[in-house]
């Protein structure tokens, strides 16, 4: 069965007809030519297909496209400003050598943006000692929250430093604003 759906991808509205069996990942990559989300394991285990979907980090390999008709999607390719300035997370990955082979990078970058939002919102994680804490912080928090994104190049140390830096920068920016 085919279904007509509409997705907004990196600010651009796209209408596409998909077979109802199509995952969001395949709709993006194969139908719309949006190749930042990567097909790694295709079973929800590696995180390389992560995008920001309606403002939150989300896997696209375990989501049927038809079930997300109307969704707003931001991929790692849509994070930079229109004049080309990198997003603070992208710049921090560059500064700390977090990219390495790069296959998992678009998912890592999207996940990191989501992680920083979740930290700012005061959402707890498994390693948050006090569930009533309003400002979870620290490297253990970042490690735990990034654990759904696997990298076998061994870039974790750089990625940790990058997320820490980006978190500091965006906090500073909010304070200045």
């Amino acid at each position: 069965m085919d279904a007509d759906i509409a997705l907004t991808v990196d600010g651009e509205r796209c209408a596409v007809t998909v077979d109802t069996r199509t995952t969001l990942l395949d709709a993006l990559r194969e139908r719309l030519g949006v190749t930042q989300p990567k097909k790694g394991c295709d079973h929800g285990q590696c995180g390389s297909c992560t995008v920001l979907l309606d403002g939150r980090r989300h896997l696209t390999c375990l989501a049927l496209a038809v079930a997300h008709d109307g969704a707003e999607i931001v991929t790692a390719g849509g994070l930079a400003s229109p004049d080309g300035d990198l997003h603070p997370v992208q710049q921090a990955f560059l500064d700390h050598d977090g990219y390495q082979c790069g296959y998992c990078t678009p998912g890592q970058v999207c996940s990191a943006v989501g992680v920083l939002d979740e930290l700012r919102a005061g959402h707890p994680s498994l390693v948050t000692d006090d569930l009533a804490a309003e400002d979870p912080d620290g490297d253990d928090e970042i490690r735990e929250r990034m654990s759904g994104n696997l990298c076998r190049c061994g870039a974790y140390a750089g990625i940790l430093a990058a997320v820490r830096q980006a978190g500091q920068q965006t906090t500073d920016r909010e304070v200045r604003a």
């Binding site: 929800g44 939150r56 896997l59 375990l62 989501a63 005061g122 569930l131 654990s147 759904g148 994104n149």
Partner: protein, 329 residues
């Protein structure tokens, strides 16, 4: 994957009728488990009725300190909800111990409870599995078995239920609200999931067309002093080897009341009534906690591959209770 007809439900009763009238239809919630099963060929429905956008996505506080959690509330939202963090920490910790941040944004409350076993043979359609294909046999009996059950298993099936949330809800005496073709009813969490017996293909007591619309958590003296501990092969993002949900009400060092449930040991979340009874009225010490767990584990049946679970769940139970007694999570 076979051809799929897709319906987006806008009304719970209509969704129930659609599925109840079609043996080949299934509900679709967040889809983190079902979509994977479609790809693997483990699930082969002809019709999906998407219930994820039904207005079942709120958390309401009930009189007496309880909570009513809509079936479509996302796992991340439930874990972050102030009333859950404050009043039912075992629920928040169980959710946060499950899956990854991305998956928790997608997975729903009801879907979490209805996720299916991660037994490698269940997920591999080239192997025999009584849960996937009744009557074909159980490959896990003689195969890779370190995740297998130690309590309540049968010759037909030795697998375990994978949900963390279900274990916490079982300890805290939650119930699910079910809308079926004949109307609404409540099923206690302790009765929702089945032991395998001769029919491991049925994970729960729900019938085809039954839709979980909410989870109800009663207020209690023990729920605010509750937690969830999970032992697994890596520090994060893995299923439990064993897990413990515990809630404790102490009078000095005497146990006034206690709730205990275990994950990773049985075909369903295992409410440890024997251990609870042994502890109630006793002085809580490492020895009394370990003895209580041992009393519950007297019924355990193990193999070379699962023997470790007995010691692991006993140790984790004692450790978790003593931490709770000390005021830590």
């Amino acid at each position: 994957m076979k051809e799929l007809t897709y319906h987006r439900a806008t009304d719970a009763a209509a969704a129930v009728a659609l599925v109840a009238d079609d043996p080949d239809a299934r509900f679709l919630g967040g889809g983190t488990n079902l979509v994977d099963h479609l790809k693997l060929g483990v699930a082969r429905p002809g019709t999906l009725v998407d219930v994820s956008r039904l207005p079942l996505d709120t958390v309401e506080e009930l009189p007496g300190g309880g909570l009513r959690v809509g079936a479509a509330v996302r796992n991340s939202d439930l874990a972050a909800h102030p009333a859950v963090r404050r009043g039912f920490p075992a629920v928040a910790r169980a959710l946060l111990a499950g899956a990854s941040g991305q998956i928790r944004h997608q997975a729903t409350t009801a879907g979490n409870l209805l996720q299916r076993t991660r037994c490698v043979y269940f997920q591999d359609v080239t192997t025999a599995c009584n849960k996937r294909e009744p009557g074909t046999g159980c490959s896990a009996l003689e195969g890779y078995g370190r995740y297998n059950a130690i309590l309540g298993a049968s010759e037909a099936c030795v697998t375990t239920h994978p949900s963390d949330l279900a274990v916490a809800l079982t300890a805290l005496d939650a119930a699910v609200v079910v809308l079926g073709p004949d109307g609404e009813r409540r099923v206690p969490m302790t009765e929702l999931h089945r032991l395998p017996g001769h029919h491991p293909e049925h994970d729960t007591v729900l019938r085809h067309g039954d839709l979980i619309t909410a989870v109800e958590l009663p207020g209690s003296a023990v729920a605010p002093a509750s937690t969830y501990a999970k032992a697994r092969d890596r520090a994060s993002y893995a299923f439990a080897l064993v897990s413990v949900a515990a809630a404790l009400d102490l009078d000095g060092d005497v146990v006034r009341d206690v709730r205990l449930a275990w994950g990773g040991v049985a075909h369903r979340p295992w409410r440890a009534y024997v251990a609870e009874e042994a502890l109630r009225g006793a002085v809580l010490t490492e020895d009394s906690a370990r003895a209580a767990a041992s009393a519950e584990l007297a019924a355990a049946v193990t193999t070379d591959q699962t023997a470790y679970k007995v010691a692991m769940v006993r140790n984790l139970t004692a450790h978790t209770l003593l931490r709770l007694a000390g005021g830590a999570r």
